[in-house]
């Protein structure tokens, strides 16, 4: 199994380290031809406008959409925005996943926060019930989901912060900034 990490901008190295520690081969993706031979893709945290613009400039939008027809893709924070259908802001999107998102939904850096979440899908997959340490940095929220998209996690006030639609996964927070590999393992279970 070989997993690509979209390496246009952001914390792609952190995802690579997580996967390396799980014994998974990885490759950085900056150009369309680099998608060849990959079984799945992670879109990291970063600045979603920067990632979107670079993806458009280097003709990655269509190849990524095509890749998504057959392969698993997971977006964390900026990556979740890039995967979404709608962000109410003019910027390039992959529009692969039936989620509506709102950028910087909690505010600026002063409003960044950490919280422990109970995520039943993770607990089931890992076979134990440890709370999940979720780190939100100028984070987006998932305003609504449609189609066959399932909600994986919400914060106590009910706002959605993780969702899954088939082999697509979106999280508002950053599993790559923790030492807990359960989310990465869960993503790998979606890869064919």
């Amino acid at each position: 199994m070989k997993i690509g990490i979209l390496a246009l901008q952001g914390d792609f190295a952190e995802h690579r380290i997580m996967l390396k520690n799980l014994g998974v081969e990885t490759a950085e993706v900056r150009l369309p031809e680099q998608l060849k031979g990959l079984d799945g893709l992670i879109i990291p945290g970063g600045e979603s406008t920067t990632i979107g613009k670079l993806a458009a400039a280097f003709n990655l939008i269509k190849p990524l959409r095509k890749f998504g027809q057959r392969h698993a893709i997971w977006g964390t924070c900026a990556g979740a925005i890039f995967l979404s259908k709608d962000v109410s802001h003019k910027q390039p999107l992959l529009k692969l996943m039936d989620i509506k998102v709102a950028r910087n939904a909690f505010g600026r850096q002063l409003d960044s926060f950490e919280i422990y979440l109970d995520i039943s899908n993770l607990n089931r997959a890992a076979g134990k019930d440890d709370p999940y340490h979720a780190i939100f940095i100028r984070a987006p929220i998932i305003k609504s989901v449609s189609g066959d998209t399932k909600i994986l996690a919400s914060i106590p006030d009910g706002r959605i912060v993780a969702a899954q639609q088939g082999h697509f996964l979106a999280t508002s927070f950053h599993p790559e900034l923790t030492n807990d590999s359960r989310f990465h393992e869960y993503f790998l279970s979606l890869v064919d």
């Binding site: 901008q9 613009k53 400039a57 002063l110 106590p156 950053h174 900034l177």
Partner: protein, 295 residues
């Protein structure tokens, strides 16, 4: 909801989201919009770019909060702003404004000639400049969550940024072969906290994100710094003192992403207009250099 705002994890975390990106100096809302459209991952809001601070002289201070707030409301990307070295009240003001990052910067006139701000006191993360590993680790010891090389701001001459990046990264490489029992003496010799020296040795890199800054003017300069091993770049005067800031800004953003791909670097460097005029540092009198500010 558990909301322990301000942990080091989140302070460092925002810098991790900026990696592989370009942070651009902007002095107006129009600049800020151009920077965002060019693909900047953040902007530095200030009244004068370093080249103008050099040209006009006088005391350089924190920018007018009104200007910073206007820029914050213009763009959706993170906004940073500068305070004078040691001026913790300017930092309190920026925290009250809610900027995303504070640069305790040698580009402004220092307010304290012995002490930097105790950055642990703040919820807002700080970035600080450095010329070598000792200086970087002193700043991290004071609570900086991100480091940048100082370079020589406002010159368009990349030589000092190269010197500082090579020094910091070279010091870290040497640390890898330094025996554990030698670390205390080494920490003493570079004036750095022992625990951070040990942590840096174990990690093989600084415990925080490390950008380049000071004198970058072209896509090739940015890619050079990336190939030397930094995580991203600040471009100050280099963009808005050039002929065509929108084009040059976008070219530098692309160059940072594709920093190892010479074909793309050639492509993005083509027809982007004249760079800033620049000043050759080897002919600059010592007293005009600002990188030596910081203790």
């Amino acid at each position: 909801m558990e909301q322990n705002t301000g942990s080091l994890k989140r302070k460092k975390g925002l810098a991790q989201m900026l990696k592989g990106g370009v942070i651009m100096d902007v002095v107006t809302t129009e600049h800020a919009k151009i920077a965002e459209d060019a693909g900047a991952c953040a902007v530095m809001a200030l009244e004068r770019v370093p080249a103008d601070i050099r040209a006009q002289g006088g005391v350089a201070r924190m920018s007018d909060p009104g200007l910073i707030e206007e820029i914050m409301s213009t763009v959706s990307i993170p906004v940073m702003a500068k305070v004078r070295i040691g001026h913790f009240v300017e930092a309190q003001i920026l925290e009250a404004l809610g900027v995303d990052y504070i640069d305790e910067s040698e580009v402004l006139t220092p307010a304290d000639e012995s002490h930097h701000i105790n950055k642990h006191d703040f919820k807002i993360p700080f970035v600080c400049g450095c010329r070598n590993l000792g200086e970087a680790l002193r700043r991290i010891g004071e609570g900086a969550a991100m480091i940048r090389t100082k370079g020589e701001a406002g010159t368009g001459d990349v030589v000092e940024a190269v010197r500082h990046a090579r020094t910091v990264l070279g010091d870290i490489r040497k640390l890898a072969t330094t025996a554990d029992e030698e670390l205390m003496a080494y920490a003493k010799s570079i004036g750095a906290p022992y625990e951070l020296v040990k942590e840096t040795k174990n990690l093989g890199h600084l415990p925080v994100v490390n950008f380049a800054a000071g004198g970058l003017a072209t896509p090739a300069d940015a890619a050079l710094m990336m190939q030397l091993g930094v995580d991203g770049v600040f471009v100050g005067s280099g963009i808005f003192k050039s002929d065509d800031p929108a084009k040059r800004g976008e070219a530098i953003v692309k160059a940072v992403t594709h920093y190892k791909d010479a074909k793309i670097l050639a492509e993005v460097s083509r027809n982007i207009g004249e760079p800033m005029v620049g000043r050759n540092i080897s002919q600059m009198p010592e007293e005009e250099k600002i990188a030596s500010r910081g203790w």
